[in-house]
Amino acid sequence: MSCLGLLLAAALLWILQGILYKHFWKKGLSASVSFCQTDAVEGECAALTETVTNAKYLPLTALHVKFQMGRDLVFLNRENSSVTDYNYRSDIFSCMPWQQIRRRLEFQCKKRGFYTIRQIDLSGYDLLWSSRFYLSLPADTSMYVYPAFIDPVQLSIPLRQLTGTLAARQALLQDPFELRSIRDYTQGDSLRDINWKATARTGDLRVNVHAPAASWQVMLLLDGSSARLLDDSKLREESIRLCATLADQLLSRHIPVALCTNGRDCETRQELFLPAGANNHHLSAVLKLLARADFSDPKLRSMDALIESRFLSGAATEASDYSDTTLYVLISPCQRKLLSAAWQRLCAISPGSQWILPLHPGEPVCLHTDDDCPLQQLYPWEVPYER
């Protein structure tokens, strides 16, 4: 009878521990994943913190924490991750009662983008490893990976030409009410521009230099579509880097920059457009927009259609806002006839606009343009093949 009692008690204990773990393993159990920083630049290393809290008296011998994030964030310790369509990470924890464990995972940002982690899956075991339990928890953490900047020296020629054109345009129309500086009188200056007070103070003739009447701005047109047989992401990413570098350089010269692209927001799926601005946070806004831009949508609008609808059509609001005082910079690896035609029409409105054409080495420029078109300002940009 005593032996039977022993066996019954043992069986009961085995069942009871299973029931205990089944019902209480997730009580007070929480797990979170958070990026240590909100933004990083392509190629940089960043870190992620995994936190597991077991706020109860039941210890957990083994706890699997699984989550997925963008495949272009590559962990430095790759043992626990498998990269397919996403980067799937699986880590193992072991928690004592009332214990919080934090683990730091370092990774490299291989590509620009907006990366989020929305869910964490947990699985635990009972004491005798006879049952396995599952739990899904929501997570809300995100990080921007901005495109890397290109060496501005390489961009010096188109940049100088652009700023030169802007300076020349601005000098044509002067604002009589806004004074920029005072200089010596030179032959040909209007008598109306003489600053008599300054002349009396210095004893020489001095004239007012007026500020330009219109504030010129640059509209960056980023085309992510491709007319190639195979989608070339290398060219597209280089275009995005060019766009980011141009925006950075122009904003550092206090030139307002607007951005229009046919890419869609990776979260909202809306077309991306950033109005002109030159404030302190504008570069950050440009970089965030570029990080969020997604060009993988098969229904991506072509750049020529976008130019047509936004800047050439009479009904478009942007046409009236940007037509007179804007220089356009098109960054597109696409060499289609329709795009060339639309670009010519846009350049007719705003002469001096530039097309930066990213190409692979040895690739011909075969744009169908007229000789007398202002599209002469074309800058092929060589992008080496990916090894």
Partner: protein, 339 residues
């Protein structure tokens, strides 16, 4: 859980107990455990059979066999639990052997902690169940036998007449003792109580020390991986949920509202009472936006002391004192009785 220290050193030979332990942990030992269990259960059965035979009543062998069988079975069951945990952990670690940041040290600590508690609980439960089950069985059988046999007329026929056992006459050994003094049982009781208390205190102290040492051993900070570990303060409320005011706190707050607990509250209560009385006399209603001076004007009360001390109680950061309250009460008394 398997000891791989020898494989790391390569040339070092593994001692046979360690090899045995490794083999026991890493392989499925159901057959071994079943055989051992059957063996000890058999021992127990043999002991029980021998005891049931009348010839072996006086011998110690059946009792020893039964005890050995019972103890062995108990140990085998504990061993089975331990093996289930260790074997499961070993399989898990083997499956995830290529995983980075595998917290083997932490897992060992947690498993040790869990199994200490579980095996202790299992030992107590199984011993308790083994002790309780025969008693329960006897109670059940007696209950059923009473229900079934007493009413039957054949029961008496089946019963054998029993002769009373011959009890030895021990009267020669006993002498007539003198009457014990009345204080002796009291003293004996007190001494027994004191001894029991001392033993209990010593046992408690010993257990406390043991538990404390075990707790500090288990929960001490160990740096076997790069994870940051923090022990939380145990609470009955889950950490994630905000603290809700308990019923006792609410009742305390209600109590303090209905009955002022500080001089400041008492002074403000006195002021409210004065204003309310004045308003009733003047047949006015207190405006919620009114300042103290306006309230006093509409209530027809012109007590400067009350006004000053109320403003202190209402707006000043300094706490009110007993002197303030006394001053308010004196002022109230002088208002009612100007002489």
């Amino acid at each position: 859980m398997k000891d791989n220290s020898a494989s790391k050193t390569g040339s070092r030979r593994i001692s046979w107990p360690r090899r045995l332990k490794n083999h026991w942990v890493s392989h499925n030992q159901n057959t071994l455990h079943l055989s051992l269990g059957a063996f000890f259960a058999g021992l127990f059965a043999v002991g029980a059979l021998l005891r049931s035979k009348s010839g072996m009543e006086a011998s110690l062998l059946p009792g020893r066999l039964k005890t050995m069988g019972f103890g062995g079975l108990l140990l085998v069951l504990l061993l089975v639990f331990l093996h289930m945990n260790l074997h499961g952990t070993d399989r898990f670690l083997h499956h995830f052997r290529d995983t980075g940041n595998l917290p083997t040290g932490q897992m060992r600590q947690v498993s040790f902690f869990c199994m200490i508690l579980f095996l202790t609980a299992a030992l107590l439960c199984m011993a308790g169940a083994a002790a309780a089950l025969p008693a329960l069985w006897t109670a059940f059988t007696s209950l059923f036998s009473e229900r079934s046999d007493i009413a039957s007329p054949e029961a008496d026929a089946l019963l054998f007449p029993e002769s009373p056992a011959d009890t030895p006459d021990l009267s020669a050994l006993t002498e007539k003792a003198g009457s014990t003094p009345s204080w002796l049982p009291v003293l004996e009781f007190l001494m027994t109580l004191a001894a029991l208390l001392i033993i209990a205190a010593l046992v408690c102290l010993l257990l406390y020390n043991l538990a404390h040492r075990l707790y500090s051993f288990l929960l001490r900070r160990r740096e076997w991986d790069d994870d940051e570990k923090v022990f939380l303060k145990p609470t009955l409320i889950p950490l994630a949920s905000p603290k809700e005011p308990s019923a006792s706190k609410t009742s305390k707050r209600k109590l303090s509202f209905s009955r002022p607990s500080s001089f400041r509250d008492e002074i403000r209560r006195e002021y409210r009472r004065t204003i309310r009385t004045g308003m009733k006399k003047q047949k006015n209603h207190p405006a919620p936006w009114a300042a103290p001076a306006e309230l006093e004007a509409s209530a027809g009360c012109s007590d400067h002391v009350l006004h000053r001390i109320y403003e202190k109680a209402r707006y000043a950061p300094d706490p009110c004192t007993r002197e303030d309250l006394d001053a308010v009460r004196r002022s109230k008394a002088s208002r009612h009785d100007p002489t």
